[in-house]
């Protein structure tokens, strides 16, 4: 750990009013030596330049909901709190685009957009408390993924603060743009390892006129799978289609016992089409011998919370698998029930498994199956010894890009492994 005296330069980058208590920023049991909360993109850039000069390691953080993604950081000297960047920079409802600073929470953004009958079609775990910067840096997705455009589809442009102390932009604020390289895509999901996102522009959508949320409690997973695909193949206006094992369903308020599997379906659209979706869902339920009922919004927010990382016990393992939709049910079945919770978002092929009893052997077996199906496995939360398991894309290109954008390893060093 860098001695505190080396960090004087970093502290000096911002006035005293922007200094914070380091005790408020632990990451996996470690505390930084310095905590700063700039209130402008320039302030962020100054902190990074100073950190680079001091050879200090910076972890940018907003709502601090996903700091366990990737490998544990190898060094942690400076907590860079982005919540001071809280302006909505520009919002043109008639253009359906909005530009916001990275510290704005999704909750605040959605509230502002709702005033004009619009919203950003993302429902990341654990909830709307995430900041826009964190939303982009982690690219975590919820049940809407695969049915509605995700954050990767909605981001139009970005401004990023670099370790050199500059501000760099790409894209723009228009919905169609092929000018140059899409740095905004490079930074989406980059876990804050290549730059600190300070603002971004997004495409927004009109809020749906009507919505409905239903649970189909199916006797077993085969019937649940059939029900889910039938709802999908009827081209019903789905915004979410999830499968829950009995543990997960019970936790979110839909009481079932194994081997019952629950299909959670959410629909949106004009009132007539949502009514049709409800009618057809009842028809599907009947044929699959499932009990069907409307569920309140709480069910969905509770499901989002099941993928929470912060506040989980150290031993909890949360794994995200990507497999083709046709393999979702078999993956859930392979996990089994008991002391594990498993649920999936069918359209995106996203399967979550959560529990304290997941071993390295189990994870590697799940990963092998995912690979065989052309998919992937990512460990989102786990004790340190399990964090080396998981996919992270092309390592050589990742290391090269890391070396070019952050040669001194100022930002989140070690997130991508020893060399990055």
């Amino acid at each position: 750990m860098t001695a505190t005296s080396d960090l004087e330069g970093v502290l000096a980058a911002l006035p005293r009013a922007r200094h914070r208590e380091t005790s408020a920023y632990p990451i996996e049991g470690r505390f930084p030596s310095v905590a700063l909360r700039p209130e402008s993109p320039d302030g962020v850039a100054r902190v990074l330049a100073a950190a680079r000069d001091a050879r200090a390691a910076v972890v940018p953080q907003g709502a601090r909901t996903a700091l366990t993604l990737g490998r544990p950081v190898s060094r942690y000297d400076v907590a860079l709190d982005t919540t001071g960047l809280h302006r909505i920079v520009e919002y043109e409802p008639a253009d359906m685009t909005v530009t916001v600073e990275a510290g704005v929470t999704l909750h605040a953004l959605q509230a502002r957009l709702a005033e004009e009958g619009q919203y950003l079609s993302v429902d990341p775990p654990p909830g709307d408390e995430v900041t826009i910067g964190g939303l982009l840096a982690t690219a975590r997705a919820g049940a809407w993924r695969g049915l509605l455009p995700g954050v990767r589809d909605l981001v139009l442009g970005i401004t990023v603060a670099t370790p050199e102390g500059t501000l760099v932009s790409s894209g723009g604020r228009v919905v169609k743009n092929v000018t140059g390289y899409d740095l905004h895509r490079l930074h989406t999901g980059a876990l804050g390892s290549l730059g600190v996102i300070v603002s971004a522009s997004f495409k927004v959508a009109p809020l749906p006129e009507a919505t409905a949320m239903l649970a189909l409690r199916c006797p077993d997973i085969q019937l649940a799978e059939r029900a889910a695909f039938e709802l999908r193949d009827r081209r019903l206006p789905l915004r979410a289609l999830s499968l829950l094992d009995a543990s997960t369903a019970t936790t979110v308020g839909v009481e079932t016992r194994a081997p019952a599997t629950t299909v959670l379906a959410a629909f949106e659209g004009v009132p007539a089409v949502v009514a049709r979706a409800e009618r057809e869902s009842r028809d599907v339920a009947r044929r699959m011998r499932a009990a069907i009922e409307a569920v309140p919004p709480f069910t969905w927010s509770a499901l989002r919370r099941r993928a929470a990382l912060a506040g989980s016990e150290e031993q909890t393992v949360l794994v995200r698998l990507g497999v083709p939709p046709s393999r979702v049910a078999s993956t859930l079945a392979a996990v089994g029930s008991g002391r594990l919770e498993a649920w999936a978002h069918v359209a995106a092929g996203c399967v979550y498994v959560r529990g304290a009893s997941l071993t390295a052997a189990t994870l590697l077996a799940l990963q092998a199956d995912a690979h065989a199906a052309g998919g992937f496995l990512q460990v989102e939360h786990a004790p340190a010894e399990l964090r080396d398991i998981g996919d992270a894309g092309d390592l050589e290109l990742t290391r090269t890009l890391k070396a070019t954008f952050d040669p001194e390893g100022v930002l989140n060093p070690g997130r991508w492994g020893d060399d990055a």
Partner: protein, 486 residues
């Protein structure tokens, strides 16, 4: 910066031994056909190769790199920004023989294709399964998916569905040094850096995709196509905003002005009214109930915006006719003038009326007729400036007009290219949109993939090593031929 003859001779020999004689062209008379794309910028490659597999592509790139010879990828050559023009000669790597659809996975709604598959060929193959591949550029009868990936191609249906990057899940890619890797996955949100997202739209400068996994969407249950007639472009532009403000996002929202309508009708009767100032082609799709309600909302919005008349295509044949008119628009202009300059700019939708007024004024000031056809819903404009290149000074004036129009787009908060790409044509305009630090970051990305700097040189970024910046090298204008699409 050109390669020596002895080096080329060795390379030709090695490529021929690796790929076979029928896959390598090196005689001057064979190379001529490959010196241009849909622009008129010309440069002759030294060698043209036709790989048949990922291994072939890897071999080509590895060998070329070994000898320090540039490589330029090419699909069907319909690019509108000079992206496939081999300005420093070298090896032109043509992907058209890799044209197999490897898999259509109906249950998972994906298709895996080789880069030389023609866009329309993919559409037709998946249509039989009730599915569609959403990005549908007007050049779809000719353009390849690989080219679509390079340019992040859009099309009239981008408004709802997005462009190519929103539909590519993963790709096998050969990097400039010959190493093959996989970017993305078969499902969205692969962990790690979004190299997939970075690659799509990189205009063939970061490598060559040899297998592409795309997602498919179900065909809509119902569709309704409307043609709304307006007295002026301004009225039509205002109508665009009203339609979207009504809460409906049409799946397509295209505008054509009087010049274009007349050009199209001149070549065949597709039902466009020749006395209109502008028309809007609006399409709503979805489930029956959705289309019912939304088309009523759209009609109300169009009437409130001053539509003089509305025509609703009540059956498939009529819908086809209306679209045929739109998609053949650029080719039709060919009949009206010896040459035309096709522009591609984008502005926030709400700024369309004032920008279109500006385009009209500027064209008049420069003394050129200009026809406008564009994706109004996205604010993506395509002014077509008609001129005669044989007239002294006309070409220079047309280029100057084009630059002013692009400036207008930027001042309105837009961008210098909505879908055609930067390529050769717009490199020098990059500085209008991006600062030195931004461009430097972009060049670092390029370098991370292409350390040697030999891959599709002189494209996208303002003047790199050895890239000619003489004014004549920046000239780009388009021959009016039926083979050009927008």
């Amino acid at each position: 910066m050109s390669t020596s003859q002895p080096t080329l001779a060795v390379l030709v020999d090695e490529l021929t031994r690796a790929l076979g004689k029928s896959s390598v062209l090196a005689r001057p008379e064979e190379l001529i056909a490959y010196e241009y794309d849909a622009t008129i910028e010309r440069a002759r490659p030294d060698i043209v190769v036709f790989p048949a597999s990922t291994d072939d592509v890897a071999t080509v790139l590895r060998l070329a790199r070994k000898h320090g010879v540039p490589v330029v990828p090419r699909g069907s050559g319909t690019g509108l920004a000079g992206g496939a023009v081999p300005v420093q000669g070298g090896v032109l790597c043509v992907l058209t023989r890799m044209n197999r659809i490897l898999e259509i996975d109906v249950r998972n709604r994906t298709a895996t294709i080789e880069p030389g598959v023609i866009n329309l060929q993919l559409q037709e193959a998946v249509a039989t399964h009730g599915l569609t591949y959403a990005p549908d550029p007007s050049s779809q009868r000719v353009c390849t998916i690989g080219g679509n990936v390079a340019t992040n191609a859009g099309g009239p249906h981008t408004l709802v569905h997005g462009s190519t990057v929103n539909h590519v899940l993963g790709m096998r890619v050969v990097l400039p040094d010959g190493r093959a890797t996989f970017l993305g996955s078969r499902v969205p949100d692969a962990p790690g850096l979004d190299l997939r997202g970075l690659f799509v739209g990189s205009e063939g400068t970061l490598g060559i995709a040899t297998e592409i996994v795309v997602r498919l969407v179900p065909r809509a249950e119902a569709v309704r196509t409307l043609l709304a007639i307006f007295a002026s472009i301004e009225d039509a532009s205002n109508a665009v905003t009203r339609v979207i403000a009504s809460g409906v996002i049409p799946v397509a929202l295209e505008m054509l002005d009087r010049e274009i309508i007349r050009a199209v009708q001149h070549s065949r009767d597709v039902g466009y009214p020749e006395d209109a100032g502008a028309v809007l082609l609006v399409e709503v799709e979805g489930l029956r109930e959705t289309v019912e309600q939304q088309s009523a909302q759209v009609i109300e919005a169009l009437r409130a915006a001053g539509a003089l008349d509305l025509r609703i295509a009540s059956e498939a044949a009529e819908r086809e006719r209306l679209w045929e008119g739109r998609k053949s628009a650029i080719g039709a202009i060919g009949a009206l003038a010896p040459n035309f300059y096709l522009l591609d700019g984008v502005v926030p939708r709400t700024r369309l009326p004032e920008v279109m007024r500006g385009v009209e004024e500027l064209s008049a000031r420069y003394g050129f007729r200009c026809g406008n056809v564009f994706h109004a819903g996205d604010g993506n404009l395509h002014p077509n400036v008609m001129f005669d290149s044989m007239e002294p000074g006309a070409t220079e004036r047309v280029l100057a007009l084009g630059a002013e129009i692009l400036r207008l787009c930027i001042e309105a908060g837009g961008a210098i290219t909505g879908e055609h790409g930067v390529g050769l044509e717009k490199r020098s305009y990059m500085e209008w949109m991006f600062g030195a630090d931004d461009l430097e970051a972009m060049s670092r990305i390029r370098l991370a993939f292409d350390e040697a700097g030999l891959f599709n040189p002189c494209k996208v970024l303002p003047s790199g090593h050895g890239c000619a910046s003489a004014h004549s090298a920046e000239l780009t204008h388009h021959l009016a031929t039926p083979g050009v699409y927008v």
